[in-house]
């Protein structure tokens, strides 16, 4: 075998390996996408996520929501005006995505999601995640809720 043939083989091998690698990554991506799609389908057809708490309107502020209205809380709940939020509140002082709440190890956490008018837990600004107990007052914009079981 002459050296130029050997070098040609090496060159072709490089290109083959490069495209094999691309194929491997694309296959991994496709598998990933299928898994995500399957998970999403489960989310729609399977049973709904458990309700682990409620928010009860105490003071509706400037909005038209009636005090006493109960909202169900999922283990992960977003509150805001936007269409993707779990709890949608139509009020001019509520941001698109206003507040995030999540339930972990028996405790609720409240965090502001970068809103304009802020989120408060018992009048403390909740810029960082704050642990909340049942009975605490969660203020989203100017609307005040009580966290209940």
């Amino acid at each position: 075998m002459t050296l130029d043939v050997f070098l040609l083989i090496l060159r072709l091998l490089f290109i083959v390996l490069l495209y094999l690698f691309l194929m491997q990554v694309v296959i991994a991506i496709l598998r990933d996408l299928r898994k995500t799609a399957a998970n999403n389908a489960d989310g729609f057809t399977g049973k709904a996520a458990p309700v682990v708490g409620h928010l009860i309107v105490v003071d509706s502020g400037p909005s038209s929501i009636l005090p006493g209205t109960r909202f169900n809380l999922l283990p992960q709940t977003t509150i805001g005006r936007g269409p993707t939020c779990d709890i949608q509140l139509t009020d001019n002082f509520i941001s698109g995505e206003h507040t995030r709440m999540w339930y972990r190890n028996g405790t609720w956490y409240v965090q502001d999601a970068g809103s304009t008018n802020g989120t408060y837990l018992n009048n403390q600004p909740a810029r960082e995640p704050l642990p909340a107990r049942f009975g605490d007052i969660v203020q989203v914009g100017f609307i005040r809720f009580k966290l209940a079981q």
């Binding site: 043939v5 090496l10 290109i15 094999l20 690698f21 941001s95 970068g114």
Partner: protein
Amino acid sequence: MAMISASAGIRRYRWKELGLLIIPFMILLLEMIQLPIAQYYVSQINSSQQKISFTTSLLPHLNTLTPILGLVILLLIVNVLLSFTFPKADQMLLPLVGLMSGIGVIMATRLGLSPSVGDPNLGTRQLVWVMVGLIVCMITLFSLRNMGWLRRYKYTWALLGIILVGLTLGNALRVRNLDSPTHDQLNFGPLNLQPSELLKIFIVVFFAAYLSENIDVMSESNIRIGSFRLPIPPLRQFGPIATMLGLSLLLFLGVRELGLALLIYGIFLSMMYLGSGKIIYVVEGLLVFFVLGFIGYKLFSYVQNRFAAVSIDVVHWQNWTQQTIDFAHNGALQIVQGLIALSSGGILGAGLGLGHPGFVPVVQSDMIFTALGEEFGLAGLFGLIGIYLLILYRGYRIAIEASDPFNQLLAAGLTSIFAIQALIIIAGNMKFLPLTGIPLPFLSYGGSSIIANYIIVGILLRISHNTAMQREGLA
């Protein structure tokens, strides 16, 4: 109990990443074997006319492979470390990025041996930078314990970046050597740092933090003529962004860094679009850009020179006048030589070490794309661009899945840096756009660029890890 935790550890291990690292390792070793053989072949073909036969004694010693084996081992260590510390971080970024920077190291080694670059340590230095970059990537992952830290001190980051670049450029202005290619470097003893590489990250952090806080306001205009809302962002909220943008553009244009100015403006447009969802802002931004570009073209002769190189017709070189030939030997030398290098590569390329990329000035950094094209051919270039596309895909996917607007904007903005930078410099190399000196991500020679890119990778990995942990209710 121990068995349970061991099996959990095996399940948590990043097998996908490990599997994806195998072929990159094979490619890097293959190229490292080919390089000395090609060197020997070139040296023999000049002296003797008859065919040289292949013997196993030509295969390189193990110690010539040591550098690339070092990189391979470091990538494996990162894989293991990530499995124990950030098991949920994206598993495809590291193999993609590792292969890209490995090819960058091999290309730097090869170009350092060519007589016109004449720097046999070029590859070693690039290797050290990549290793430092991987370590910096891990440090970034660990130190970003709280992403709010990035968001809260947004003005500090932006000002820090501006001051760093300002100091460097002030220094360059003082010594009045704007034409030297290294005028944007800050020298710390033997290290030449380019703070502008860090500035692009700071700018993205600032834009992401600011836009995510004003996301509702930005998409609604508050300036009306009668009942017609002017399609411009509200001025009070737009002010800080415009100030940062103006400052960085002035800095770069003042010292003729057209490429970086273009990059910052591109980031600004894409993040404004991502933050507000209004295509009209992008259209307006492009209009402003063309107007400013036209004014710049009329005012500055160096901008005109760059455009003159784009209009040169290389295909019909037989019809060149003496004036064009002179221009191709001076102002347009890089472009013309780069195009000749690309075309001589053909479809399969000359093979690593068998081309003549040394004819292109500054081939190791700005023009690396032409060297890759000459030696790996069109097929190799398509493969490399494919890897870029996959890196971008992963980056934008991390952005889509992120949980809050700040992380989404940050991930998308950082990924856009790669996209815009690769676009500007590849188009520049191929004479689609005026050539501007910015590095090709991961492939170009240069420590600052490698480290900045690995910081970006670290932030992306951290965001993907945080998202996955939050989704599973663990964070």
